[in-house]
């Protein structure tokens, strides 16, 4: 695993490490695809990054506090402004939202207008764990080469509810239909774990790595 070093050349991709995520899974899958990801535990390396992945597990509140303390909030907002591709995975997708409702309300990055809320699943069990279908509602470069209706690995109790229909790229059913893929310009988010979703997950990451950030 490479940590950011001032003397390094421009990174293919920077993986944000706020200390609570399964970083190795993300970096291993990028290495498998032939890339050299840099893991960054502070935002210094981000100016020169071509693209950024924000992974995450755990609680929205804890993560949002960590992002603020470590200076990532400003850095990620500036990065998103620069039109370079940004991918949020699972909790990383929720953090793209304006706010989250886990352990009270806390602020998100505000890159995707919307709120992260507990899934409403009726009598079904939570967390929603396992392989479930992603219905692609519109085509997007990041999903190119992946057939509609394929399964990806989910593991979560909360989901991002974007405030505009135009932000929804894909949905999934569990009790109710929830948004499993969002996109707004150069910012993209997936609820499932592509790094854990075998062939189709690796394909998605490989597409993200080739994406120019134009929706």
């Amino acid at each position: 695993m490479n940590y950011f070093d001032e003397n390094m050349d421009v990174a293919d991709v920077v993986v944000v490490d706020i200390g609570i995520s399964n970083i190795a899974s993300v970096t291993n899958s990028l290495v498998e695809l032939g890339y050299s990801p840099l893991v960054a535990d502070n935002p210094r390396g981000i100016e020169s990054a071509q693209r950024v992945i924000l992974p995450g597990n755990g609680s929205f509140r804890a993560a949002s506090e960590r992002l603020t303390e470590t200076g990532w909030v400003t850095a990620l907002r500036e990065f998103a402004e620069s039109k370079r591709p940004l991918l949020g995975i699972c909790l990383g997708m929720h953090l793209l939202a304006s706010s989250g409702e886990e352990d009270g309300i806390s602020e998100g990055l505000g890159l995707i207008p919307g709120v992260s809320r507990r899934l409403s699943v009726g009598d079904l069990r939570l967390p929603h764990v396992g392989w479930n279908t992603v219905d692609q509602l519109k085509s997007h470069f990041v999903f190119e080469g992946i057939k509609n209706g394929r399964d990806f690995y989910f593991s979560h109790s909360f989901a991002l509810e974007p405030s505009g229909q135009n932000l929804i790229i894909g949905t999934t059913d569990y009790g109710n239909t929830f948004v499993s893929v969002v996109g707004s310009k150069n910012v993209f988010g997936v609820q499932f774990h592509p790094e854990k979703s075998q062939k189709n997950g690796l394909k998605l990451l490989s597409q993200f790595m080739k994406w120019d950030g134009v929706a």
């Binding site: 609570i20 995520s21 399964n22 970083i23 190795a24 899974s25 291993n28 899958s29 290495v31 498998e32 597990n57 755990g58 609680s59 804890a62 909790l91 079904l124 069990r125 939570l126 967390p127 929603h128 764990v129 396992g130 392989w131 479930n132 279908t133 209706g149 394929r150 399964d151 690995y153 593991s155 979560h156 109790s157 059913d173 569990y174 774990h193 790094e195 854990k196 979703s197 075998q198 062939k199 189709n200 997950g201 690796l202």
Partner: protein, 252 residues
């Protein structure tokens, strides 16, 4: 639609993949990293890796295996056996584990469970419960089946769920390695007390045993060891049979 999961269960002793019978006598199965690669190629839905060595109750060996294994397996990985602190969990999750499984510590250290949930979320915590007995009279066993706990199964299920557990792995000790079918009464009992996903294990000897297990409402996943380790069965073949009975597995 959420799919059923079929999970190879990999027991580790001193760095080797082994398989026990009734949590006792064991056979060597091979190299865990190579075996995991094969299960990955066979599109297993997930892997459960448990250190069952009675001499080594630390995470050191499993961590070493996890680091190698996660370079080739791009599927969910759960690691358990010998987890006693939040530091253990931090290093496992940083090193490629998606979830951790806690068994013995769950009887005496509910704070550990709560801390795991607070830091990593419910979805990252599986509680393993090893059960022995017959209908209505199951005991919970800890320390790889060597200690009988005094708490009733129902009470233990309630306590770990209150602490925030995200999933349960229910193993039948007397059926372990016996390939005589799952303890369906035990699994029915647990699914009635559980509001979280339940993985059943212990005793799968053929595909019909799997079918019987999946028919129980609330059984989302089944763990399999002997059947896959020792026969020419594999997750592909098992799913091909189960799909004929209207069970749905992931589309790849």
């Amino acid at each position: 639609m959420l799919k059923k999961r079929l999970i190879p269960l990999m027991l580790i002793d001193n760095g080797r993949l082994i398989k026990t019978v009734k949590f006792g006598a064991s056979r060597d199965v091979g190299d865990p990293v190579q075996s995991a690669k094969v299960y990955s190629d066979q599109n297993a839905d997930e892997l459960l890796i448990l250190n069952v060595s009675r001499d080594d109750r630390t995470i050191a060996k499993t961590l070493e295996i996890l680091r190698e294994l996660s370079k080739n397996c791009f599927m969910p990985l759960t690691v358990g056996g010998g987890i006693t602190s939040i530091e253990d969990v931090r290093i496992l999750i940083r090193s490629g584990a998606d979830k951790v499984l806690v068994n013995s510590a769950a009887y005496r250290n509910l704070d550990l469970l709560k801390n795991i949930v607070r830091e990593f979320g419910s979805q990252a915590l599986i509680i393993g419960i090893d059960c022995l007995g017959e209908v209505g009279r199951w005991s919970c066993l800890s320390k790889c089946g060597s200690i009988v706990e005094s708490i009733e199964l129902e009470d233990h299920l309630r306590r770990v769920q209150e602490a925030g557990a995200g999933e349960l792995l229910i193993q039948s000790v007397d059926r372990d390695g016996a390939m005589c079918g799952l303890d369906l009464d035990l699994l029915r009992k647990v699914t009635l007390c559980a509001k979280i996903p339940v993985i059943g294990a212990g005793g799968v000897g053929n595909y019909h045993d799997l079918l019987d297990g999946y028919k129980i409402e609330g059984i989302d996943a089944i763990g399999v060891a002997s059947l896959f380790h020792f026969s020419d069965s594999n997750p592909h073949r098992a799913k091909a049979m189960l799909q004929n009975h209207n069970l749905n597995f992931k589309l790849v």
